[in-house]
């Protein structure tokens, strides 16, 4: 879980669950995963955090006013009730911001109210 502290600080929290009746090895495996991936001393965490930090430093730069979310734009695939993007697509970011805009403009609120 990423917990924001201020505009340029956050804490990454990891929650591991012990499931009722599940073998101990399940808990041990989830703890192993957290140590290897999420920990501040993990094999992945420090590289991820380095990239977050570089993104943050890029955002602080005045050279580009826009954050680009155009990766794989126009290449989304319609599959019945869902839209699917590729592994490197910004589809989820675009969807998230579209939803945020809809909330901010009250269109979703009005749809619910008028339903």
């Amino acid at each position: 879980m990423i917990r924001p502290i201020s505009v340029d600080r956050f804490i990454v929290e990891t929650w591991s669950f012990r499931l009722k009746g599940a073998p101990d090895s399940m808990l041990q495996r989830t703890l192993l995963y957290s140590r290897l991936i999420n920990s501040a001393m993990g094999m992945v965490g420090p590289d991820d955090l380095e990239v977050y930090r570089r993104a943050q430093e890029g955002l602080a730069s005045p050279s580009n006013e826009w954050v680009e979310f155009h990766r794989q734009y126009g290449k989304d695939e319609q599959r019945g009730d869902r839209t699917v993007g590729g592994g490197t697509s910004d589809l989820d970011m675009r969807t998230q911001y579209q939803a945020w805009q809809a909330y901010m403009e009250g269109t979703i609120f009005n749809e619910v109210k008028n339903a």
Binding site: M41, M43, D47
Partner: protein
């Protein structure tokens, strides 16, 4: 047991981490050796509770390679450390040819344009190996083990 030889071993180990020289440092460990940094005070075991790190020799080898990997973004920054070791104490040990020592260690770490200070109580379980020692277990209890930690790419 000769206190001077054990102190010498601890200083030698710290020197290798200060540089850092992980290749030589790893070789101080027994084949079954482990490095553990718990995430809570008085943590009972490394398997059923979360830790910052719990490495065996296989994981140490993976880290050693990753440490110089050209595409590991966090490793693009140089890291240098300075260990100061004190309050060395011997604990009673039930097994023969095994010694357990605790020490207080203050480690200054230079990484990513910033100098940090870690304070910890370190427990070494050492196998006597002729005139030398092999590390069976190294346990590092930070005084702020529960606190959120910044990325740490080096063993303390």
């Amino acid at each position: 047991m000769n206190r001077e030889r054990i102190e010498e071993f601890l200083y030698r180990e710290a020197d290798l981490l200060d540089r850092p020289d992980l290749d030589s440092w790893m070789n101080l460990f027994a084949e079954s050796g482990t490095y553990w940094m718990p995430a809570t005070e008085d943590q009972k075991d490394p398997i059923n509770h979360i830790s910052h790190i719990y490495d065996d020799r296989v994981m140490m080898e993976i880290r050693r390679r990753n440490f110089i990997h050209p595409r590991a973004s966090s490793k693009e920054w140089e890291v240098r450390c300075s260990h100061v070791i004190g309050n060395i104490r011997f604990l009673p040990e039930a097994e023969e040819e095994v010694i357990t020592i605790t020490s207080n260690q203050h480690v200054a770490v230079w990484y990513r344009d910033e100098q940090r200070l870690y304070a910890c109580r370190v427990t070494h379980r050492l196998q006597i190996d002729g005139e030398d020692f092999k590390i069976l277990e190294k346990r590092v209890d930070l005084i702020n083990s529960e606190a959120p930690q910044q990325s740490l790419i080096i063993y303390l």
